[in-house]
Symmetry: C2
Subunit: 433 residues, 2 copies
């Protein structure tokens, strides 16, 4: 079979996510036959180095032998069971391990299916917690330039106009507080002052503040200093407002530590996990929270304080087995240590971009790095040009506007880093020729 | 290993969906070791006939050999790839098949991960469609007693107080129109008049009406006549408002036809599919819509009319392979024909309940049936008593308040129907002794 066997068939029946479908009149849809390691391969033998981990999910390569073997084992035992009133070995093990590896004080796991649903769980739980204590607080705070997903609650706490503006009339109103302008220590001062002002004035109306720790991923890979996070934790404690850490994209080693919150040594009230949770295999999310939150819902049924949220596949055994296999790999192969020299190597390789005339800034946090271009108008769709160049040269990049970024599987080798960076360099350098 | 090896460990780290966790001080959590056919088995060899298909998802039994084999094949090829700019064989095949089996005129598939996310996609698409045509319509209509999921947008179009009331301050306002009081033809007259009045007055502000065709599943398995659905289709066309059919629970044979909308021979503008879509294996959802809707978004990128919704695992190959295997079984084993005598048999078996003094109504639509009890106060938690009785006797029922219902896997045998019904009968009959 050839690529062309699937392209027309695809365009006839599929509406792709986050895509203007008309673009595919000039941009070929690429049908992938198989994945192995960091590579995706189409039906004509072309290979693409997956430098974005297929939307930031893959950690240890495509079709990973070990994860496959664990899923096969699980299929023979139990594919699924309702998680209300029932439980199973994989979900218990996974929850225990998540409690163990997340910051101290996070002790209870509530499962959902994707990042957006996880965000919705955290928002509802935070609001409901205050309500159970007799305080109705209809506002959530998020950072400017933030993104937390696509369902209407998750979208409402976002601040990227591109995704949000269209739907203004069908979302609740939320409050935004400025994100630090850059990742320097100096940049955190003014934003913390402004947050304190907001909490002082309106804290009693606010359930929680949600943020992506250190890196606003869909927000152009904008990065800020860990001390800002420390400051937010201090202020939210002072004013009795929840801190909700959206680690959907930043979790599982991406920032160089297991979770981005660790860089600031803080414990949020809620931590949302998804994407890398299953090693990039399938949809699953977890909201981890504290005993204190849990206890506000724990009471006689008739008091009607229960958290009645559910999804059919909550705690799905197959997805949990993929997640447990992923955590096995982290442990058995000392992944957090193993990636440190890769992070340093990427850092070295990034330096060359600083000399390019169309590069405004180069930034990095662990395995996430971004090259911000300047001098182009949005209509030029400069990111799309780099995307096309990279594909032709065997690398899958997917720039965010004029931000070219890397978020490769943690298993990427030094040689693969060379190739990924080299192709991106060629794409950026060639823009002006 | 024994059940007790998991119970305390579970309660230490897990917060279960739709559960007052304090109930587990007297209600034992049941750890499931394996599933096979309609049975779930715990670590001590107790078996439970899964009469609710583990939250209405399972179709062809647990750990189904055929579906397992198809997932194993897929694992060797491709576990996941980003669906923006890329595609793969399983998702193309699945979308083609879904277009073929859903009502004529539904031609484009947009993927998401769970029912709630599917509902959010349909709501956003409907609103966005009108906006792209220059009309801002911030309202959605749903039926009284409706339920469409848990994320804040999906919850906002619901009308079951138990799930919704707590969150009133953090949801958008929606409009409700009365559902017919029962499944008789007479009961549809007044509700259609009221809907027409609403559409006449406020149609220009309304994007769409969302409903579960024929059975409001989480709404106490309330059922209404197919002609109501026909009437709604006629009125929505007349007033230019979308009809969104939430077939998350009613789809894939549950009502005796592949989709409940078929009973009324209508084509909605959006059909939302999930739950049974993967045969009960894992999270996946699809919103199917028309070329007309699709075309309103299809234009030059710079016009900014694109539908930019996405989830990381949109169109996940493993989930799609489970869905394709599920459709194989429907085709190869003529499932819709095969279940007809089972539906008739269940109907016969249900008659005995009508004679019980505490039974108010018995209703059935295909493989879904419900026995409504009367004469109890909510505090008595009568459903919980039936639940406990059934578990002791090897059947998993999970009543909705005072509604005892059956929604078994389509693969259930006549003997298994006997057991399921017999145990429910014993539980209901014994309530007053």
């Amino acid at each position: 079979m050839k690529n062309s066997d699937f392209i027309d068939r695809d365009l006839d029946v599929l509406w792709h996510p986050c895509t203007q479908m008309k673009d595919h009149e000039f941009l070929p849809m690429i049908p992938i036959k198989k994945g192995k390691g960091v590579y995706l391969e189409d039906f004509e033998g072309n290979r693409y180095l997956d430098a974005i981990s297929s939307w930031w999910v893959n950690l240890f390569g495509h079709s990973n032998e070990y994860i496959n073997s664990k899923i096969r084992e699980q299929l023979e035992e139990l594919e699924h069971v309702i998680l209300a009133g029932f439980t199973h070995e994989q979900v218990v093990k996974l929850a225990e391990r998540i409690v163990k590896i997340t910051p101290e004080g996070l002790t209870k796991c509530f499962f959902a299916d994707n990042g957006s649903s996880g965000v919705e769980v955290a928002l509802k739980m935070s609001f409901h917690y205050h309500k159970n204590r007799g305080s109705t607080r209809p506002y959530f705070v998020s950072l400017t330039n933030s993104y937390h997903g696509e369902t209407l609650g998750a979208l409402a706490v976002g601040d990227v106009e591109l995704y949000k503006e269209t739907y203004n009339e069908i979302m609740i109103k939320t409050l935004q507080t400025p994100v630090p302008e850059n990742d320097s220590l100096e940049a955190i001062h003014q934003p913390l002052l402004e947050l304190e002002k907001l909490l002082e004035e309106r804290g009693h109306e606010i359930s929680g503040i949600i943020l992506e720790p250190l890196v606003q991923c869909a927000g152009s890979m904008h990065m800020y200093h860990p001390f800002y996070l420390k400051g937010v934790r201090r202020l939210t404690e002072k004013y009795g407002v929840h801190l909700i850490a959206d680690e959907v994209a930043t979790g599982f080693g991406r920032t160089g530590k297991m979770f981005a919150s660790e860089h600031a040594e803080i414990t949020p009230d809620f931590m949302i996990l998804s994407k890398g949770l299953t090693g990039g295999y399938m949809a699953l999310s977890i909201v981890v929270t504290s005993d204190e939150v849990y206890r506000e819902f724990y009471c006689d049924y008739k008091l009607q304080k229960s958290f009645l949220h559910s999804h059919s596949y909550t705690g799905n055994p197959i997805a949990c087995s993929a997640a447990n296999a992923t955590l096995d790999i982290f442990e058995n192969e000392n992944i957090i240590e193993v990636i440190q020299p890769k992070i340093e190597y990427i850092n070295q390789k990034l330096q060359q971009f600083r000399h390019l005339p169309n590069v405004k800034e180069v930034r990095q946090r662990g395995m996430i790095s971004a090259i911000e271009l300047e001098g182009y108008r949005p209509e030029e769709r400069i990111g799309l040009k780099v995307y096309q160049y990279a594909l032709k040269n065997g690398v899958l990049l997917r720039p965010l506007g004029h931000i070219i970024y890397f978020m490769p599987p943690l298993s990427i080798t030094f040689e693969e880093i060379d190739k990924m960076v080299e192709v991106a360099y060629g794409g950026i350098e060639g823009l002006n020729s």
